[in-house]
């Protein structure tokens, strides 16, 4: 199924534990997002489910392993698999992260297994523009690039991440996936923790037409003195909902996804988070977003 009007869409990330729900429950969200790499295998049950989901929902392919910011070349076998999946699913959005994943150890190509942060300077930006151009050309698709949660910063960075992404978008034609929880996490870990100010500064650095998708998630509060880890294990926090309102006020209606990856809740709790996003869209933009009108109460994570 294709998305004709992408602006008002509210979706959820589909994980294995909810496969039965998505196939049997009535349609309650506008689109589904999956992690591309989980469907790289030839055949199998997971791909069969995705093809069935595809008949009912527009699908967004969110990649997590490409490492667009890597100085190392992205292996061609990775790109070949992604292209094959893209041709099969025909996603309405394709996204990745502003991070690096590939490198070498003792002469061998390795993958970090994590979204490692990149240095925000023009050496790194030039490299990432080169990679984004190459991948967009190979796939014949526009990419949407997401800001990341980070746990270290490089001394050599002199651009903010928002400045980096703004210039990346301008130079490559790629759009930006604004993860509001990631801004909140970095605000706590690296700034003064004034989340609303951090979000405000971030979104005001981005041009009005550069953001193509929003991600919302919640994470476990850290122990004293520890960094907050973006574990996607909780409902969206009050601060992130407030940041979502700020983003909607600046950018208007943007396809929005609820992510939940650890300590997965029941399907209807996830749908409740999507409904909360829809309620905020309708309230902030004075619209009537179409699919679900009834509110499902959810607990806030503080």
């Amino acid at each position: 199924m294709s998305a004709n009007n992408t602006e008002m869409l509210i979706g959820v990330g589909l994980r294995h534990a909810h496969f039965a729900d998505i196939l049997t429950q009535p349609k309650q969200v506008d689109f589904i997002e999956v992690h591309s790499e989980n469907f790289f295998g030839e055949g199998g049950a997971a791909l069969s489910v995705l093809n069935q989901v595809r008949e009912k929902y527009p699908v967004s392919l969110h990649s997590t392993s490409m490492g667009l910011g890597s100085y190392q070349e992205i292996p061609q076998h990775y790109l070949d698999r992604l292209k094959k999946l893209t041709q099969m699913i025909d996603p309405f959005l394709m996204s990745e992260h502003a991070c690096f994943t590939w490198g070498q150890q003792q002469g061998q190509l390795i993958h970090s297994g994590d979204l490692l942060p990149i240095c925000h300077n023009h050496t790194s930006l030039d490299r990432m523009c080169e990679q984004v151009d190459k991948v967009q050309s190979f796939l014949g698709r526009q990419l949407i690039i997401e800001n990341v949660s980070a746990y270290i910063k490089f001394n050599q960075s002199y651009l903010s991440e928002a400045q980096f992404l703004a210039e990346l978008s301008q130079r490559t034609g790629a759009k930006i996936l604004l993860d509001i929880n990631n801004i909140a996490v970095n605000s706590i870990n690296f700034e003064d923790g004034n989340i609303q100010q951090s979000i405000n500064d971030y979104i005001n650095t981005l041009s009005l037409n550069s953001v193509a998708q929003i991600h919302l998630a919640g994470c476990t509060p850290p122990s004293a003195g520890e960094l907050v880890v973006d574990d996607h294990a909780r409902p969206v926090s009050t601060e992130v909902w407030q940041g979502y309102e700020q983003a909607l006020q600046r950018f208007g209606a943007i396809p929005t996804l609820i992510e939940w990856d650890n300590d997965l809740p029941e399907w209807m709790t996830l749908i409740g988070e999507a409904n909360k996003a829809r309620h905020i869209v309708n309230s902030v933009l004075n619209t009537n977003s179409p699919i679900v009108q009834k509110q499902v109460p959810t607990k806030d994570c503080q």
Binding site: S70, Y71, Q72, F100, G103, Q104, Q105, I110, S112, D114, L116, I118, C119, A150, Y151, I152, K153, F154, N155, Q156, N189, E226, L227, V229
Partner: protein, 45 residues
Amino acid sequence: MNEQQRLLTLIWNNDPTSLDKELDKELTEELAESGFDIRGVNIYR
């Protein structure tokens, strides 16, 4: 070695079982020079 390779090497080469123990001098100096917070490096391990 570029900054990405430096971070990967830090993550890859140090024994995760020793993370809660006192860091060795070489690693401490490397972290300080790179501007990295050991808490952050540990999260990526």
